[in-house]
Symmetry: C2
């Protein structure tokens, strides 16, 4: 379920098959929204006009945008399908609970040219409406998958040839001193508890982000951004191999 | 108004004068919360125990934490007091509306050793409860100020010797190619509209964050993190001057 005409346009541009579109009266009055709905219908979607006040009762927000789109479930990327290449980077979220953080990780990973984002352990559903909103359309662009068992996932990715790295606070190797041309699976843990001990023991190495000031840690989306954009910076300034 | 025993502890550690503490019955039953309240009283705070159900009616969240702390207003840092040094970095938010984003900027700037954060234009109140929560205590650590007129602020900072840079999308100089030992004031704009045209014309230069993938832009807190941690990386690897 994606809210708003902008997300519908993003899904259409990405070639995502749109199942159906629910249109509130305020949306039917807007020419751009009308045009977007016509494109969805042309692409095979069913269009359902709604009476006034109906959308407010089913939508997730208090003042919903006047278009709701129903999309097929994606996110079944099998980790066995991932192949490491020079500079490949995979982001693995483990027990990331906040939908805004998960959506920000998707958006940031997309912008940083990450190969795939994997949701593991007790992580939030990628289709949580707040996660969809925070991803700003990147849910339709970046390959992602949901895999409950982070230990099995670690073994699969290591077996495929990815270096596995745990993101930790004020410990681990300096992220900026690592060679990001090596294909890597970067693990991000829960907002409070971090990564589980047994998983950290199974992951090949760990990295930290050296900090100044008095902040005790970084937001998980921010930590993801700092590391992924350092990796992209290295890829941009160095030749592969 | 700061919610939760953890923020109260942060304020006490930072030496912030605490005016009063409101304690719900559930908080009075927790030994660690009791100890924190005793420290606040020893530091001069007035303690008000609350009857059951009272806190739920005044707090910002549906299930509030059992301690509310009233703190003096800070954030009156005058821009004239800021002095540039090698590697100094100031973050200026202009019309940043989302309290979660503003709090994330405070937390990230603190962690990246930023000199000060300035709120300008129609930016959200730094004391918005969601901003306080997202700052994770950094509101008590990093110097900040509120200054309505971003044009006057730009003139003051440029006059004091700071390079002024506008953060823009897919344009501007590559942030990673800039010399961050030069004292800089980094301007971040509104989540949708970016920076106003007249302000961009007044700011000395602009920077962008080169992206891959199909994301159209970055979240403002994420963009702040990418730039501030590149600046910190350069300060860590190069000698000042």
């Amino acid at each position: 379920m994606a809210e708003g005409a902008e997300l519908l346009r993003t899904a259409l541009r990405a070639g995502t098959p749109v199942e159906s579109v629910y249109l509130a009266p305020e949306g039917a009055e807007d020419p751009l929204t009308q045009e977007t709905c016509a494109q969805a219908v042309a692409a095979g979607a069913r269009l359902f006009p709604l009476a006034a006040g109906v959308l407010e009762r089913v939508a997730d927000t208090v003042t919903p945008q006047p278009v709701l789109t129903v999309l097929p479930m994606m996110g079944d990327l099998p980790p066995e399908a991932l192949r490491p290449d020079a500079g490949s980077l995979i982001v693995v979220m483990v027990d990331v609970r906040d939908p805004g953080n998960a959506g920000t990780v998707l958006r940031t990973a997309d912008a940083a040219g990450v190969q795939a984002v994997l949701f593991s352990g007790d992580s939030v559903d990628p289709y949580n409406p707040k996660a969809v909103r925070a991803s700003a359309g990147s849910l339709f662009h970046i390959p992602f998958g949901v895999h409950e068992d982070p230990l099995a996932l670690t073994a699969t990715l290591a077996g495929a040839g990815y270096r596995t790295l745990a993101t930790v606070v004020r410990q681990g190797d300096d992220y900026a001193g690592l060679d990001w041309m090596l294909p890597t699976a970067l693990f991000l843990g829960n907002e409070s508890a971090g990564l589980p001990e047994d998983l950290r023991a199974a992951i090949g190495g760990s990295l930290g982000i050296p900090m100044e000031g008095q902040a005790e840690s970084l937001n998980v989306g921010v930590a993801c951004a700092v590391v992924c954009f350092e990796a992209l910076r290295q890829r941009r300034t160095r030749s592969p191999g």
